[in-house]
Amino acid sequence: MLMFKLAWRNLFRNVRRTILTCLLISSSLVVLILVDGLVLGMVDVMVGGITKTLEGEAQVNHRDFRTNLEPEYFIEDPVGVINIIETDNEVAGYAPRVIIGGMVASSYNTTGGLIYGVDAERELEVSRIKDALIEGEYLSGGERELLMGKPMVDLLEIELGDRVVLTAAAVDTNEIAQELFRLTGVLEFGPEEIDKTYIFINLKKAQSLLGMQGHVHQIALQFNDPEISRKPDLPLFQTLTDDEVEALGWLDLQPSIGAMIEMSSFSTMIVGLVLFLLTSLGVINSMFMSIYERIYEFGVSKAIGTTPFQITQLVLIEALLLALLSCTFGLLMAYLIGDYFSENGIPMGKMEVSGIVVDGNMYTRLATYQFIHFPIYVTLLTLTAALYPALYASKIVPTQALQRAL
C-alpha cells in the first residue's frame, strides 16, 4: 500500500512528463486498436464481398463439382441435405442451385456464360442478386425470366424484354438443350467477372432444361453468426459430408482469402511490434529521467532501510500505474474514434481488393479482444520496459548518491 501511495504521488511530481508518456503509451494502444479494427473491417468487406454476394458462407457440393464444374456431379438427394440443414438453428438461410456453363445469344451477338438456376425466394436470404438489380424486375418463378449483368447486356446489345437463347448440354441425355428467355432484369454486382458471365434463371426451369429434375449442384448457406462458418470442424459440416457430397465453410472454399487474412493479421503484428519498440524506448527514457532526478532521494531511502527489492517494486508500480492510466485513456479514445469510423467510415475512394470493389469508405470493426488483449500487451510492455530502470534504481549506492549535488 505504501509503495502504491508513493508511486501514485511520484507520477504527479512531473505532470507534464507523465502526461507526455501517457500520451505516447495510449496513442500506441489507440493506433494498434484502430489498425486492427481497420484490418478487420477490410477483411469483413473482402469476406462479405464473397460470402454475401453469391457464394454463401458455406456450400454443400458434390465432391468433384467444385474442381471442374462438370454438370454430371450433382447432389443426388438434395431433399435429404435440406432436411438436415432445416433442423439446424444456426443456419439463417439456404439456397439450392443448378450451375452450368452455356452459351447465350441475342439477335446481334453470342457469348459464353455461367448459368445459375436459382430459387428466387431462397436466394433473398443467401445472396444479393435482388440487391444487384439496377433495371427491371427480380425473378418471380416465371418460365422465361432471365437476369444478367450490365456488361453482358451491353455486349448482347439487348434491352429489357428482348429475347435471348440459352444453349447448354443436357445432363441426362448429353444432348444440346436450347430455350428461349426474355431479359427480365439487369444486374450490377460490382466485380467485373461476375457481371460479365453470370446468368440467372429460375431453378425449376433450369432443372427441366438440363434434364435434372429434383437434383441440384450446390446448396449455399448463410449462418446467423458469420464466425460459425470459420469453424472447419463444424458438426453440421460433418453431418452433411459423406462419400458423395461435402459441406465446406468459405475458408476452405476460398483458401486464398484465408491466406490474405493471415497476411493482414501478420501486418497488424508488424505494426504492433514497431509501435511497441518505439513506445518502450519512450517509456525507458522517461522512467530513467524520473529516476535520475531522484538519485539522492533513492540514496536516502536505501540508507534508512528500504531494500533494493522495495525500490524495484516502487519503480515497477509507477510503471504499472502509468500503463493503467494510459490504457484507460487509450481505450476510451480508441472506442470513440473506432466507433466513429465504424459508423461513418474513413473515406478511401474507390478501390479494388482482390477482385472485390470497395466503394468509398473503409469501416473499422471493433472487437472485444482488442479491448482486453491489447491493453494487457501494452501494460506488460510498459512493465518490461520499466524493468531496466527499476533495477538501475535498486542498485543505487547510498554513499555515492548522498555525495551528489547538495
Partner: protein
C-alpha cells in the same frame, strides 16, 4: 556501560594505487549507550566516511564494526538494509525527507517498512511531532516546511523507528546558526529524556559545545577523544 558501537582498526581507502587516499586509518572507537558524541575535524578528515561505516552504508577495507554486538561488515546487502532499518537512525545534511509524503507520513515511513501496527504508528507519530516541536504541522509536505522544520521531521523519523543509535552527518550545515542550535537542543533533549545515543559530525563551534564527547579526526585518524 554497554557499548552501542565498537569499531576496530577501521581502514577505508579510496582511489587506485597512485591516487590512493586513506580516508580512515585504523580507527578504533567505542561509543556507549546514551552518549551525545560529536565527530569534529577539518574538511576531508574522514567524518562522513566514519559515520557511513558505522551506519553500515559503506564497507571498510579492513577492520570491523560492531553495532549492538552484531558485526556489520559480515552482513549481506539485504541483511544490512534490514539491520539499518531496525537499528540505525540517519539524519543527513539536507533533503532527508521523501518530498511526496507529508511530515507525518515521512515519520511513519520506516515504521511501515518495519511492520509496526497502525495504532502504534499513529501514537508514535503524534508523540514524535510533539517531541520535536512540530505539533499541528504533520500534514505538511516537506516543501511547505522550513529547513529547520524539515530537519526536525528527520529527527522524529529516526527516533520513531526506535533505533539503537542515531547518526547525523552535519545535520545543521544547511541551517542558520540559531535554527541549528535549536535543532541540536531538540536532539540533546531526546538524548537526555529518552536515553537515545547520538553521533553527529559538525564544523560549528557552538554545536560541538553541546556534545558530551568530542572525537577529533585529523587525516583519517583520531587525534583527540575528550569526554566532558
Amino acid at each position: 556501560m554497554t557499548n552501542v558501537i565498537e569499531t576496530k582498526n577501521l581502514l577505508r581507502k579510496f582511489g587506485s594505487d597512485e591516487t590512493e587516499i586513506i580516508a580512515l586509518n585504523k580507527v578504533s572507537v567505542e561509543i556507549e549507550k546514551g552518549e551525545f558524541t560529536a565527530i569534529i575535524g577539518p574538511s576531508g578528515s574522514g567524518k562522513t566516511t566514519l559515520l557511513h561505516l558505522i551506519g553500515g552504508l559503506d564497507e571498510p577495507d579492513d577492520g570491523s564494526v560492531f553495532l549492538s554486538g552484531a558485526n556489520i561488515a559480515e552482513m549481506s546487502g539485504n541483511e544490512l538494509s534490514d539491520f539499518r532499518r531496525d537499528h540505525i537512525g540517519f539524519i543527513f545534511q539536507a533533503y532527508n525527507l521523501i518530498p511526496v509524503l507529508s511530515a507525518q507520513e515521512n515519520i511513519e515511513y520506516i515504521m511501515l517498512l518495519q511492520g509496526v501496527p497502525a495504532a502504534e504508528r499513529k501514537s508514535r507519530v503524534g508523540d514524535m511531532l510533539n517531541l520535536v516541536g512540530l505539533e499541528g504541522l504533520g500534514d505538511r509536505r516537506p516543501a511547505h516546511l522550513s529547513g529547520g522544520q524539515q530537519q526536525r521531521v528527520a529527527v522524529a523519523r529516526a527516533m520513531a523507528s526506535q533505533p539503537d543509535i542515531i547518526l547525523a552527518d552535519e545535520p545543521t550545515a544547511n541551517l542558520d546558526s540559531k535554527t541549528g542550535i535549536a535543532l541540536l537542543d531538540v536532539m540533546r533533549e531526546l538524548n537526555e529524556k529518552q536515553n537515545m545515543t547520538f553521533v553527529f559530525s559538525t564544523h560549528d563551534q557552538k554545536i560541538m559545545d553541546r556534545a558530551t564527547r568530542l572525537i577529533h579526526l585529523e587525516d583519517g585518524a583520531i587525534e583527540k577523544d575528550e569526554r566532558k
